[in-house]
């Protein structure tokens, strides 16, 4: 039986060898051109007359080492806030989007409130919301006012909830009406239709923009530092003020980019997978 193993023909073997040669060639060319461009860039950057000053002011390793622990400590606050705020904002957004799509005249006030909310908080600058929540609310001296972190976090959740609600609504409305009609004709209630037919498709479709907003939130959680807590940016700012050197900002910036990389990678992967599935007709 082993004699019947498939043997590629002479021509096919030639084709395979040719393709391999071309692949190697293009990899070599890519490597070469990258090396040339890279060398040119390094020469151009380090040879520029201001490079020494840039290095001194932006890339001082001594300053970076001195402020890294404080910045990392601040970054931990960013991460904790991000996790809590992202989950709560997603939940709030989904709730508002669902309320906005409720049918029937009885629900008009609910729809109007939800619409008003998304209009207001998408237009309102986040800084104003944070100032109002973290300085204005405690100024009322009501009993049981929570701490600044909770108030600042609430401001973030309310603002980002409005953006996310609109993303969710776009997803819900992108599900074809025939799906809804089919589900209802099968005897599903409105709630069941939303839960089992509409939302699963909607959320899958808007996953990339949702993740995108999460990346944006990751950078904005630091604004809570306006109310006093020391986040990564604030820790860097303290370092910059103390040293008259901008390296701490660069350190914090690099850390933020590193923090965003996994999320961005996940977003790209989700987008790619969705595109593949759609083009495969599954």
């Amino acid at each position: 039986m082993s004699a019947t193993l498939h043997e590629p023909s002479e021509i096919q073997r030639g084709r395979i060898a040719y393709r391999r040669r071309r692949t190697i060639r293009s990899v070599l060319f890519a490597a070469l051109s990258t090396a040339v461009v890279g060398t040119l860039l390094v020469v151009a950057v380090t040879g520029a007359p201001g490079w020494d000053r840039v290095k001194q002011s932006f890339f001082d390793p001594e300053v970076a080492r001195r402020y890294l622990p404080a910045i990392l400590e601040g970054l931990w606050l960013n991460i904790k806030l991000l996790v809590v705020c992202a989950f709560l904002a997603l939940a709030l957004g989904l709730l508002i989007a669902t309320l906005r799509t409720l049918r029937g005249p009885v629900f008009f006030p609910v729809r109007a409130l939800a619409t008003g909310y998304t209009y207001t908080f998408r237009g309102l600058p986040l800084i104003i919301v944070i100032y109002l929540a973290a300085f204005g609310v405690p100024g009322l001296r009501l009993q049981g006012t929570p701490g600044v972190l909770v108030l600042g976090g609430a401001a973030l959740i309310i603002t980002y909830g409005a953006y996310l609600a609109e993303v969710f609504r776009a997803g819900i409305e992108s599900v074809h009406p025939s799906q809804l009609a089919a589900a209802r004709s099968l005897g599903l209630t409105y709630r069941q239709t939303m839960r089992h037919v509409v939302l699963p498709q909607a959320i899958r479709r808007v996953a990339p923009p949702l993740l995108n907003d999460t990346v944006a939130l990751q950078k904005d959680v630091g604004l809570v530092s306006l109310a006093g807590p020391i986040d990564a940016v604030r820790a860097a700012q303290i370092g910059v003020a103390h040293e008259a050197n901008f390296t701490p900002y660069i350190v914090a910036g690099v850390l933020f980019v590193l923090l965003a990389l996994p999320l961005i990678a996940v977003t790209d992967w989700v987008t790619l997978r969705a595109a593949r599935r759609q083009s495969a007709g599954v």
Binding site: T34, G50, V54, V148, G228, I230, I238
Partner: protein
């Protein structure tokens, strides 16, 4: 897909760097003014200087003149820190109190360029390079200290020592000597809160989000005296960092700058300034020393 993005990102970063580094450095022009301030200091005939009004020494300050820098809005009474310092300087220059004339000059006019109606002005002027281009400064007569303030009834309102503030939640403006005072002198157990400006810090204090805030002493006097409803100065802290300096303001290129600087230097060296500071800024109505 990803790797292409990464390369694009690197290229962008490199372009940014080139644009930053490629700009030829603008060499800082060194301010030449101010260096000649102490040139003439050899001849200071007591009581016969080249003053605004011959035989008299004219000293300017703003109206109203605030406590504890002055007392009872009467600069001429020699009471209050700055009034006392001004009269001591005048005495060193050979002008006893009866030959000193006080004149009213608003804060901004005193440091604006142009001819002056005083021999020197005393009104908590910080010495800065920008102001040096418009006016002369004597050597500093006061190095600004940091102070902790709070509101009446706060748990730190009765604190007498730095150790009493160990458990306090404190706030300060970012990038200031005040913040440095918290981290280097007070070292409280809870992390300090940091604000963009003193107004935010003050709002947090009024809201009870912090037990106390650290500001410089002149600000402390102003906040507790004029801004906070029941503000209390807990006390002033030992010197930390690079303090702000208060100097006497003279006309740009004034013939008196050298003599006045000499007088202030003498007062500092013989301890008079320290005594006056203790008497007027740390004594009753002032800010007690925390140690």
């Amino acid at each position: 897909m990803l790797s292409r993005n990464a390369i694009a990102a690197q290229a962008c970063a490199a372009v940014l760097l080139i644009t930053t580094a490629g700009c030829a450095p603008a060499d800082d022009t060194k301010p030449s003014a101010g260096a000649s301030a102490s040139a003439s200091g050899s001849a200071c005939p007591a009581g016969a200087l080249d003053t605004f009004t011959a035989g008299k020494l004219t000293i300017g300050t703003d109206n109203p003149a605030y406590e504890p820098w002055f007392s009872g809005n009467k600069p001429s009474n020699g009471k209050g820190f700055e009034s006392a310092v001004a009269h001591e300087v005048a005495a060193r220059l050979g002008y006893p109190a009866q030959n000193v004339v006080w004149t009213e000059v608003t804060f901004n006019n005193a440091i604006a360029p142009g001819p002056k109606t005083f021999d020197f002005d005393i009104n908590q002027f910080s010495i800065t390079p920008e102001r040096r281009k418009a006016v002369d400064f004597s050597s500093p007569y006061y190095l600004v200290r940091q102070a902790v303030i709070t509101t009446a009834g706060s748990k730190i309102a009765g604190a007498k020592t730095i150790a009493d503030l160990k458990s306090a939640k404190l706030g300060a403006q970012v990038g200031t000597t005040s913040y440095q005072a918290i981290t280097e002198v007070l070292k409280p157990d809870t992390k300090p809160l940091v604000y963009n400006n003193n107004d935010d810090a003050k709002a947090a204090l009024e809201n009870g989000q912090v037990d106390g805030i650290v500001v410089d002493l002149p600000t402390a006097f102003y906040m507790t005296g004029a801004e906070l409803k029941d503000g209390v100065i807990v006390g002033q802290l030992p010197q930390v960092g690079v303090p702000e300096q208060f100097g006497l303001v003279l006309d740009l290129g004034s013939p008196l700058t050298g003599c006045v600087t000499q007088a202030v230097d003498q007062l500092r060296q013989d301890g008079t300034l320290a005594v006056l500071e203790k008497q007027w800024l740390a004594g009753t109505g002032g800010a007690p020393e925390l140690s």
